[in-house]
C-alpha cells in the first residue's frame, strides 16, 4: 500500500519534471505555468470543486474499466455505454415528469439501465455465440455513437437549435449545486463507495477478483465463472452509463452532439495507470481532471497552449506505468540473482 503510494507520487513528480523540461525547451517558463495550472484546478475552493465535478465521468468510466479488467473481463465499451446511459437519462427527463425527489433517482436508474443494456448485449453475444467481448464492445461503441447522433439529429432534434441536440429536459431532473459544489460529486462518490464495497467485501467481488487473477483457480474452486462474467459486464456497464447520465444531469441538461467527448477513453487510461485499483482510480481521476481543468485557466493567463496538458498526461501515463513495471521486474531480478548466488557458493 505504502509502496504503491510512493511509486505513484514519485511517478507524478518525475512526469511533472519531464513536462517542465519540455516546456522550457519550447521557451515557456515551467514554474509559472504549473502555478497557473494548479491555481485553476486545485488551489481555490471553486476551482477544486470544478476539478472534482469534471473528474466524475473520468472516475466512473475508470472504475468501470478497473473492475472489468481486475475481474478478467475485457470490457472496452465504456464510450458506448456512457452515451447510451446519457441518452436514456435524457429520454426519461424529457418524457417523465415527477418531483425532483423521484425524478432524480429515476434518471440515475435510467442512465445505469442504458449502460447495462449496451454491455448486456455484448455479454449476451459472448454467452450465446462465444464472441469475444473485446471486439464486440469496441464495435458497439461505434454503433452507440452513430445511433445517439441520429437520435439527436432527427427524432429528438430541438428545432430551436443550430446543431444536433435534444430539447432541455424537465428541470426536476437537473442536479443542483450546493455552494461551489455540484451534487454530481455526491453521486460519483456514492457509486465509488458502493463499487468498492461490492468488489472488496461481497462474496461475488471476491470471486470476481480471484477469477481475474487466475480464472482456472477460481473455476476449480467452485466459482460460477460464467455467471460472474455476466455480472461484471452488467455492473461495469451500469457505471459507465451512470457517468453519461451525470454528465447530462449536471451539465447541459440535454444530449448535445459530442457529449461523450473523450471521457471514457481517459477513464480506461486512468484504470491502466491505477493498475485497476479502485481507490487509485479515484485519486488519479481527480489528478488527471485537475490537469485538464487547469489547462484552460493556464491558457488564459500564460501563453502556453492548453494542448500541453495532453503532453503532460501522456508523460504521466508512460512514467507511472513503465516505472511500476520496471520496479517489479527489478525486484524479481534482485531476488533471482540472490537465489542464483546462494546456489553457486
Amino acid at each position: 500500500m505504502r509502496q504503491k503510494f510512493l511509486t505513484g507520487i514519485s511517478g507524478i513528480l518525475i512526469a511533472l519534471l519531464i513536462g517542465a523540461v519540455i516546456m522550457a525547451s519550447q521557451g515557456y517558463d515551467p514554474f509559472s505555468t504549473y502555478l497557473a495550472l494548479f491555481q485553476y484546478s486545485l488551489f481555490s475552493l471553486y476551482s477544486f470543486a470544478t476539478t472534482v465535478k469534471n473528474s466524475t465521468p473520468l472516475i466512473l468510466t475508470g472504475l468501470s474499466a478497473s473492475i472489468a479488467f481486475a475481474s478478467g473481463v475485457v470490457n472496452l465499451g465504456q464510450p458506448g455505454q456512457l452515451v447510451m446511459g446519457a441518452l436514456l437519462a435524457t429520454l426519461a427527463g424529457l418524457y417523465i415528469h415527477l418531483p425532483p425527489a423521484l425524478e432524480i433517482p429515476l434518471l440515475i436508474l435510467a442512465a445505469m439501465l442504458g449502460g447495462v443494456l449496451w454491455s448486456g448485449l455484448a455479454a449476451f453475444l459472448r454467452r450465446a455465440f462465444n464472441m469475444s467481448e473485446f471486439i464486440v464492445t469496441l464495435m458497439l461503441n461505434m454503433i452507440a455513437d452513430f445511433f445517439t447522433t441520429w437520435v439527436i439529429s432527427f427524432p429528438l432534434w430541438d428545432p430551436k437549435a443550430f446543431s444536433p441536440m435534444t430539447p432541455q429536459m424537465d428541470q426536476a431532473g437537473w442536479l443542483p449545486d450546493i455552494g461551489d459544489f455540484s451534487t454530481v460529486i455526491f453521486f460519483m462518490l456514492l457509486a465509488t463507495a458502493i463499487s468498492w464495497f461490492i468488489f472488496n467485501r461481497w462474496k461475488a467481488g471476491y470471486e470476481w477478483r480471484m477469477g481475474g487473477q487466475n480464472s482456472l483457480f477460481a473455476r476449480l474452486g467452485g466459482c460460477n465463472v460464467e455467471r460472474n462474467y455476466v455480472a461484471v459486464m452488467l455492473i461495469t456497464g451500469a457505471l459507465a452509463g451512470l457517468a453519461g447520465g451525470l454528465v447530462v444531469m449536471g451539465g447541459p441538461h440535454r444530449f448535445i452532439k459530442g457529449l461523450g467527448a473523450n471521457y471514457a477513453w481517459d477513464g480506461i487510461m486512468i484504470a491502466i495507470v491505477a493498475n485497476n485499483g479502485l481507490v487509485a482510480t479515484l485519486l488519479y481521476g481527480i489528478f488527471f481532471s485537475a490537469i485538464q481543468t487547469g489547462a484552460l485557466g493556464m491558457e488564459l493567463i500564460t501563453n502556453v497552449p492548453s494542448e500541453i496538458s495532453q503532453v503532460l498526461q501522456a508523460v504521466l501515463v508512460l512514467v507511472i506505468v513503465a516505472g511500476r513495471e520496471y520496479l517489479n521486474t527489478l525486484l524479481d531480478q534482485i531476488q533471482t540473482r540472490r537465489r542464483a548466488r546462494e546456489r553457486t557458493i
Binding site: 487466475n214 483457480f217 525486484l331 524479481d332 531476488q335 533471482t336
Partner: protein, 509 residues
C-alpha cells in the same frame, strides 16, 4: 578426451524463485549421440534452452570447442553450427518441404529473385546425402508428423549444423516410425555430427545413444556409458539414488468403496483415445497410487474427475453420488483436489494468503456468509486462515501478504490445508510433492497417511515411484490411457512397475 561442449556449474533460476538448474556440470564429445534423461521437470529442456540461447542463464559457464560461449538467441547458436529441434514443430503448412527448408537463407538468382531450381536441387542433395525418406515437393501441411520432424532436421543440416539438439523427438512418433528416425540419426553420427537427445523413454535411450546423462530435480546425477548400464540402473538414478523402501504405513483394513470410476473413456477433439475404459475403485482408508510415464493419460484422468473435461463414456461416483456430469462446485462437496501446478490451478499467486485459503470453503461453508450469502464474513475468514496456519504449521509473515511470498513448501501446505479442511470423503492428489524440498515432501506424506487413518479415500498421481511405494496401498499403472496393472503394493516391486510404465502389459520381466 576431447569434449566438444562443456557445461560448468550452470544455474538457472526462473524469477522469482524457481530453481530449474542447480549447479549442473556436464560434457559432450564430438560425434556421439548423447541422451539427457530425467523425469518431467528435471531440467532437461531448460538445460538445452540455456545452451541454445533461448533462456538466459543465471550463473555458470558454457564452453564450445574450448571457447566460452553465451548465445543470446538461437541465430547465434546456429551460426556456430548448433541447431535444436523443438517438441512443437514450427513450419509453414502452406509451403512445400523445400520452401520451408530454405526459408531465411534462400539462394538468390538474378536481381535478388529466388533461384527456385537451385534451391530445390540443394535441398534434394541434402536429403540424398543423409538418406532421409522425404519428398521435397510435398506440402508440409499434408505430410505426417514424422516427416515434418525430418523437415526440421534437414532444415538445420541445410544450415550446416554439426550439433543437433532434439527435444523428445519420439514423443510425437508412432512406434513404427521410431526405428527410421533412429537409423537416420545413426547415419548422422557416423558422418561426424554430434547429437544431444532429450528423452524419458529408457529403452530408446539405451538403444540409440553412446552416453547418457541423468538429471533429477534440476541436478545432474551422472553420465554413464550406454553399454555399461541398463534400464533398472537408469530408472533408479532418475528417481533418486537413495531410494528408501521403508514404508511407514500401518496395516489397516480399508472400508467400503468411496470413489468409483466405471468404463471411463475420453477422446480428445482429434478423436484420439486419451483414456480407455478406466475402471478404478478407492476404498475408505485406502491410498491408491497412479504410476505412469507422464503423458499417458494422467492429465486427462484428473481433468475428467474434477470436471474440466467431460468423459466420452463411463461413470464417476463418490460415496454413491453420480458426479459424471456434475458441475465443479457439486463435485467439490465430495472431492478435495490438490493440482500439480500450484500457480496455474491451485492458487492465485498475487492474491493474499487469506484469499487463497478460503477458496471453495466460501461456497460450501455457511459460516463464511453474512447477509444471506451476499457478504463474505471477513472475521471468520481470518479466524479460518489462522486455524489453517497453526494446524498445518505454515510459516508466514502475515496472512495478508501475497501468496507468492511463501516458499514452495509453504504454498503447498496452504493448498493442502485448504483442501483437507474441506473434509470431503475423497482426496485427489496430482503430483502433490512436485518441486518441494525433502522436508516438505516428508510432511506431505505424513499428512496423506493421516488422512488414510481418518478413513478418507485417497487417489494420488505421481511420477515418483519411490513416493508411491512409500505411501500407497495399491498401485495402478497408466499406459497409453489404459490401466495395465492394478496391484497391492506388497506384491510388486519398483522394477515391475517401472516395466509396466515403459512397456505396458507385455511379457514379464
Amino acid at each position: 578426451m576431447d569434449d566438444l561442449i562443456r557445461f560448468s556449474h550452470l544455474v538457472k533460476v526462473y524469477p522469482p524463485n524457481v530453481l530449474a538448474l542447480d549447479d549442473v556440470s556436464a560434457s559432450f564429445r564430438q560425434g556421439e549421440i548423447h541422451a539427457v534423461v530425467g523425469e518431467n521437470g528435471a531440467g532437461k529442456t531448460t538445460l538445452m534452452k540455456v545452451f541454445y540461447g533461448l533462456v538466459p542463464r543465471s550463473a555458470g559457464e558454457i564452453f564450445y570447442r574450448d571457447q566460452p560461449v553465451n548465445f543470446h538467441q538461437p541465430g547465434e547458436a546456429i551460426a556456430q553450427g548448433i541447431g535444436m529441434v523443438h517438441q512443437e514443430i514450427l513450419l509453414i503448412p502452406e509451403y512445400t518441404v523445400w520452401q520451408n527448408i530454405i526459408l531465411g537463407i534462400e539462394p538468390m538468382g538474378w536481381f535478388g529473385r529466388l533461384d527456385e531450381k537451385k534451391a530445390r536441387k540443394q535441398v534434394q542433395a541434402k536429403i540424398n546425402e543423409f538418406q532421409f525418406n522425404l519428398d521435397p515437393d510435398a506440402r508440409v501441411g499434408e505430410i505426417s508428423v514424422s516427416a515434418r520432424q525430418k523437415v526440421e532436421i534437414i532444415k538445420l543440416l541445410y544450415r550446416n549444423v554439426s550439433v543437433l539438439i532434439l527435444d523428445e523427438p519420439t514423443a510425437v512418433l508412432t512406434p513404427q516410425e521410431i526405428p527410421q528416425l533412429f537409423a537416420e540419426l545413426g547415419r548422422l553420427r557416423d558422418n561426424g555430427h554430434t547429437i544431444l537427445f532429450i528423452s524419458h523413454r529408457l529403452d530408446e535411450v539405451l538403444e540409440l545413444s553412446d552416453r547418457i546423462t541423468v538429471m533429477r530435480r534440476g541436478k545432474m546425477v551422472a553420465t554413464v556409458e550406454a553399454s555399461t548400464t541398463d534400464k533398472v540402473e537408469l530408472a533408479r538414478m532418475m528417481v533418486g539414488r537413495d531410494v528408501i523402501f521403508t514404508s511407514r504405513r500401518q496395516q489397516s483394513q480399508p472400508g467400503q468403496v468411496v470413489f468409483e470410476a466405471n468404463h471411463l473413456s475420453y477422446k480428445d477433439n482429434e478423436g484420439r483415445e486419451r483414456l480407455k475404459d478406466i475402471n478404478l475403485q478407492v476404498r475408505a482408508g485406502e491410498i491408491v497410487g497412479v504410476a505412469g510415464v507422464e503423458g499417458n493419460g494422467q492429465f486427462e484422468l484428473v481433468n475428467t474427475l474434477i470436471g474440466l473435461t467431460a468423459p466420452t463414456l463411463g461413470r464417476i461416483t463418490v460415496s454413491g453420488n453420480d458426479l459424471t456430469h456434475a458441475p465443479i462446485l457439486e463435485r467439490r462437496r465430495f472431492i478435495s483436489f490438490v493440482p500439480q501446478d500450484r500457480g496455474k490451478m491451485g492458487a492465485s499467486l498475487v492474491a493474499s494468503i487469506l484469499e487463497n485459503s478460503i477458496m471453495t470453503h466460501h461456497r460450501l461453508d455457511e459460516r463464511f456468509s453474512i447477509w444471506k450469502g451476499l457478504l463474505l464474513n471477513d472475521a471468520f475468514a481470518r479466524q479460518f486462515t489462522d486455524r489453517l496456519e497453526s494446524q498445518f504449521s505454515v510459516s508466514m509473515a502475515s496472512k495478508f501478504n501475497p501468496f507468492r511470498s511463501l516458499s514452495g513448501g509453504n504454498q503447498q501446505k496452504v493448498i493442502l490445508g485448504r483442501e483437507l479442511l474441506l473434509s470431503s470423503p475423497f482426496i485427489l492428489l496430482d503430483q502433490p510433492t512436485r518441486g518441494l524440498d525433502v522436508g516438505s515432501i516428508e510432511y506431505v506424506h505424513q499428512l496423506v497417511l493421516q488422512m488414510r487413518a481418518e478413513g478418507r479415500a485417497v487417489l494420488i498421481i505421481s511420477a515418483d515411484l519411490e513416493e508411491l511405494f512409500l505411501i500407497a496401498d495399491r498401485i495402478v499403472v497408466l499406459y497409453r490411457g489404459q490401466i495395465v496393472a492394478n496391484m497391492p503394493v506388497e506384491t510388486t516391486s519398483v522394477e515391475q512397475v517401472g516395466y509396466y510404465m515403459l512397456e505396458g502389459r507385455g511379457e514379464t520381466v
